[in-house]
Amino acid sequence: MTALVVAGRELRGAFSLPIAYVVVAAFLVLSGSYLFVLHPFFVVGRATLRPLFEFAPFLFTLFAPAITMRGLAEERRAGTLELLLTWPVSDGALVLGKFLGAWGLLALAVGLTLPAALSVAALGDLDWGPVWGGYVGLLLLGGAYLALGLLASALTANQIVAFIFGFLACFVGFSVGRLAEVAPDGLGAILHGLSFERRFSRVARGVLDSRDLVFFGTVIWLSLAVTAERLRARRWR
């Protein structure tokens, strides 16, 4: 419950500053431009949102760290983290609340692409299965990115450094599968298993597989756990 209170505070806080509007609007403009202009949507002439789901993960590698870079780094820089730690909220609930607030913002951005799906459905016989799969995949992948971004934010007091750390973590997570092609056999199989891209593309084609859902769930859980431990470590100092 306390985590939800923190999440609400985070979400309200985000929308009290222009940055949330700028980030979400930039995401919408870029994803819409890619779907309808950069990708020759009307030339290809297919009723599908696949181009959006291929492009959005790359946008998320920038978008998610941009959301989370303030999360804990800014609190540390402004000295409000210590104040926050005096609240009757556990470290875990605090981290979870911050994560849920950021996830809510990301879900709003993803949700605002629904008019594009409705437009495509109006123009052709759109199969909604892969569309819902794509949205679930974006939320899971975005959640994993946010959790990594929040961890990056907990490691430093500088927002820019937090952004760069977060971006690198997301980028490595997404592209690790590409390394598998050049890695030795045993390592290649492990890297494939860790590939965000592969997991996401399976969900985005319309298949909800417990292996992929559990994978993203554990990435989020592990990242948040390390972040919470990092906060807890501040109490000792």
Partner: protein, 532 residues
């Protein structure tokens, strides 16, 4: 105290990591999946499950899957691994799967040679692919395919281009080894009337996936009883009465005919002039209630293809939008032949009137119709797109039927007519065998696919070939497997929209949601200021 806290923290993180690994292991061991797609295209299809349920002994799947290949085959390999696992899971213990990686760096030369020999015995060939070796990309011939072994039968699945084509290929091989008659369909290809040399072209390799091919000189011989389907593509010389008789008797017997006909081929003397060329089959189709307007041409000035119409000074092809190469998006969505095809370019097509066929009690499916903005011109005499830029005299607006699939008990086109005489054997040649007894009425359900564009249809765009493959599969196999291939087809097409609609759709989707967000933000800020 601090050391203890550090230890507790490290322990908690270690246990969390261990738990995360264990949970993933459990999820990997007992996976649960939900396929959200409309036709369950990522789940084993019912025909596949039914075939697997027929297994009365172990089925061995020996897969040669190179893991070090570059896209798009790397995706195919991963898709194949998943699919083979799904077969094993659905096989109820009867399916034994062995996966071999021919690109494994650990394989020595002798092991490699043994693998090649073994795979060759199963009918698996090496394909030239780009392989990653020591951070370098090299072209190599590597084994790629799956051997399906059941009792004393075996079938080979060659590599496919896209992962969604795998199930069709694998289930087809499964059906081949399970089939009690153990016989591949026999497909006859019409020759001897100026048709393109299909049997000597790469197209033959593609068509062999559907059955064994043989040539047949219609008119010189009747269609043998072993033949399941007959393909007639773009004859340049009209088929005579004896050839028509051969086709008629074949259909009455319950055979299947796939006809891709050209009615406006270029003149052999003046290639820049098109001629009206009846194929000789028109009287036959007329008897079945299908009337083909041989002189007309279907045009579409809005939605068409841009074929290469000339070459520039450097020999590069010059393309131009061509009204006589209409792109049809109005395809029968539910029929196995066209289901999943987004569009089809049908060059220099002529209209078909199929109303009479229904009167004969035949089941008629309109497969391809030209677009709403298309017209029917009374003639086509030039291959030049400029000749069709302005409306021609006598041109009639409205869509036309360009392809049909007909099935049922065909009436005989020769009822009440004498049997056309067999040609005299050449001097010194043995006498021709006697004709089998003439059929006056249908003995089985015949199938006919007719499209009024042939050689250009196959050259215009890849969907032309897919149309022929699907038509052939519909003709020779159960429709279940064709349906399975249709699941692999591309996404549905978009409706044709005007430039203005497209502009507003783009603008609305790119600028609309961010604008709404910004306006909401401004309203919120104003309210906050008001409160303050």
């Amino acid at each position: 105290m601090r050391g203890r806290l550090k230890f507790e923290s490290a322990l908690a993180l270690g246990l969390t990591l261990l738990a995360a690994v264990l949970i993933n292991q459990v999820a990997a061991r007992w996976p649960v999946r939900v396929d959200l797609t409309r036709d369950g295209r990522h789940t084993l299809a019912e025909p596949t499950r039914r075939l697997l349920a027929q297994l009365e002994g172990p089925l061995d799947l020996r897969a040669y899957l190179p893991t070090h290949v570059r896209p798009p085959y790397s995706e195919v390999v991963r898709g194949m691994q998943d699919l083979l696992e799904a077969y094993r899971a659905a096989g109820g213990g009867q399916v034994r799967l062995v996966v071999v990686d021919p690109t494994d760096d650990g394989l020595g030369p002798s092991e490699r040679a043994r693998l090649v020999e073994e795979a060759r015995g199963y009918g698996i060939k090496a394909a030239e692919l780009t392989v990653t070796r020591d951070d370098r990309q090299v072209r190599e011939r590597v084994l790629f395919g799956v051997a399906v072994l059941y009792r004393d039968r075996q079938a080979a699945v060659p590599p496919v281009q896209r992962p969604d084509q795998l199930e069709y290929a694998l289930t087809r091989a499964l059906r081949d080894v399970l089939s009690p008659r153990a016989r591949r369909p026999e497909i006859a290809v019409s020759t001897g009337h100026g048709e393109p040399p299909i049997l000597d072209s790469p197209l033959a390799e593609v068509l062999r996936a559907s059955g064994t091919l043989r040539g047949i000189a219609l008119g010189q011989e009747l269609v043998p009883p072993t033949v399941d389907a007959l393909i007639i593509v773009g004859p340049r010389r009209a088929l005579g009465p004896r050839a028509r008789y051969a086709v008629d008797q074949f259909l009455l017997r319950g055979g299947a005919v796939v006809a891709l006909l050209d009615h406006h081929p270029p003149s052999t003397v003046f290639p820049h002039i098109l001629v009206d060329a009846p194929t000789g089959l028109e009287p036959l189709f007329h008897a079945y209630g299908l009337n083909v307007g041989t002189k007309a041409a279907v045009l579409d000035r809005q939605d068409n293809h841009a074929p290469a119409v000339a070459r520039d000074a450097d020999g590069r092809p010059v393309t131009a939008q061509h009204p006589a190469w209409p792109r049809s998006r109005s395809l029968a969505e539910r029929h196995p032949i066209t289901r999943g095809l987004a569009s089809l370019v049908v060059p220099f097509a002529v209209p078909i009137d199929a109303a009479g066929a229904r009167g004969h009690g035949l089941e008629v499916t309109e497969l391809v119709r030209s677009g709403a903005a298309s017209t029917v011109a009374p003639k086509a005499t030039s291959p030049d797109p400029a000749a069709y830029a302005a409306p021609l005299e006598g041109e009639k607006p409205g869509p036309a039927l360009l392809a049909v699939a007909v099935r049922g008990s065909f009436p005989s086109a020769f009822a009440g007519h004498p049997t056309p005489a067999a040609p005299e054997p050449a001097e010194g040649a043995p006498p021709a065998p006697r004709d089998p007894p003439r059929l006056e009425a249908a003995q089985g359900e015949g199938r006919l696919v007719l499209i009024t564009s042939g050689t250009r249809l196959l050259a215009a765009d890849p969907n032309g070939l897919l149309f022929l493959q699907n038509a052939l599969d519909w003709a020779v196999t159960s429709t279940e497997l064709v349906t399975l291939r249709a699941r692999a087809a591309e996404d549905p097409p978009l409706a044709v929209t005007g430039e203005q609609t497209r502009f507003w759709l783009k603008a609305g989707n790119i600028a609309g949601p961010p604008l709404v967000l910004v306006v909401l933000g401004l309203l919120r800020a104003r309210r906050r200021r008001g409160r303050a």
